[in-house]
Assembly symmetry: C2
Homo-oligomer: 246 residues x 2
């Protein structure tokens, strides 16, 4: 009997390995963490830390341009093939999200994988943003929430990628002592994190995405995105805007 | 120039972590290996090794019963909650697939996850069946095929599971020296296999499925399904029937 009560009281920490698997979860029963390490959620964490009033993720460059009409205070971030699209303020590099550039501003950020994951998670109890940059602050907050947690990897074109999974495993690492019930994906992600944590940059070099990033000439961005705990702000979704959780 | 030619000549070995991700692949460009370790593809490998003329996988108990009408030579295998359904010859335990029981017979096997994965892979160049039982025979054959390979994990209710992924990683282990191009899922599966290979049974004890299996009282089946290289037959799909590849 007491075992049953314990089980009922137990929280789950599950990992959704790609947005294509989100429909398998009752999203409304979870706090969802969106993860898109290279580079959307890293840039979002850095931008919110640096005083951006809000960041609005959109999936298409055209949607982003539409914000141009709405007012001059928006900064527009859009990239194709690693280059800033003509007429936009900057791209997706975290180096564009410094206090000088974004403090007090609202940024409209074009990110296909990240926006897709966000939209499919709309019915969640709450949606927050994670990256290695805010790993411990995020994990500490999650521990206090008394809710089930779903770590959603934005992946690459709806499929699995290693960097988002590794980060999910890093969060599980911080949660697992709290007695969360873990699913197989959470166990796998955590095991992969154990393998990679000694040198995450090196570990990810063998992946497809690492190759792709190298071709785009954004290795510096990668190194930046793999820094652990350089920020403490937790971006949270309010309506269509990501703002600092207070 | 010579590098380009090499790349063109290169084959891919990709891992599809759940049937929900099959639509992301151009299945017609691959030989597909279906993996459902607990217990469908293990039982199929064992049955074909033991002389079953054919095994027909179906997803519903009702479909299975329909074969009763077609002739007395069919053996019907159907299980619910770990028990043989009334009126059926046996369930999904590999111990039912001995030579005494299945030699020369056609078995109709009810398997939800496995059948689902098979149906979604219909357009593949060829569909074969893998399990730890035929690991090395299967891998050796795959090496000779000069085709791209997609290892499809049947998973659990369309989601990720660790045992199917671990087996995919075991196949990658045997293929990787051949210069196959690997995707992130193949790299992850292989890394998980490295962690688990010392004692796969022990490694899988922490998973959700291990728990489920224990509740069903089929730990003996699990131990059986984790035996490596006790068979050499490779089941291949011909029409709706799985037969021995010759």
């Amino acid at each position: 009997m007491s075992k049953n009560i314990e089980q009922q009281a137990g929280r789950s920490a599950h990992v959704c390995l790609t947005p294509a698997l989100i429909p398998l979860y009752k999203v409304e029963e979870y706090i969802v963490v969106i993860i898109d390490i290279f580079r959307a959620t890293s840039s979002i964490c850095y931008g919110i830390e640096n005083g951006a009033e809000a960041i609005i993720p959109v999936s298409q460059v055209e949607e982003c341009s539409a914000y141009r009409e709405k007012g001059l205070d928006y900064l527009l971030a859009a990239e194709r093939d690693g280059k800033v699209v003509d007429g936009f303020d900057f791209g997706n590099s975290p180096f564009s999200y410094t206090a000088e550039k974004v403090a007090g501003k609202t940024v409209v950020l074009t990110t296909t994988n990240g926006t897709h994951a966000l939209h499919l998670s709309r019915s969640a109890k709450k949606i927050v943003i994670g990256s290695f940059l805010n790993l411990t602050a995020l994990s500490a907050w999650l521990k206090t929430q008394h809710e089930n947690i779903l770590l959603v990897c934005a992946g690459w074109k709806n499929n699995f990628n290693l960097e988002d999974t590794l980060f999910a495993g890093a969060v599980i690492e911080q949660l697992k002592a709290e007695g969360f019930e873990l699913d197989d994906a959470a166990i796998a992600a955590n095991d992969l994190f154990q393998l990679g944590k000694g040198d995450i940059d090196e570990y990810l070099k063998k992946t497809s995405h690492g190759e792709r990033m190298k071709k785009l000439g954004i290795e510096k961005d990668i190194t930046f995105c793999l820094q652990v705990d350089i920020t403490t702000a937790i971006p949270v979704l309010q309506g269509e805007r990501l703002v600092k959780l207070v």
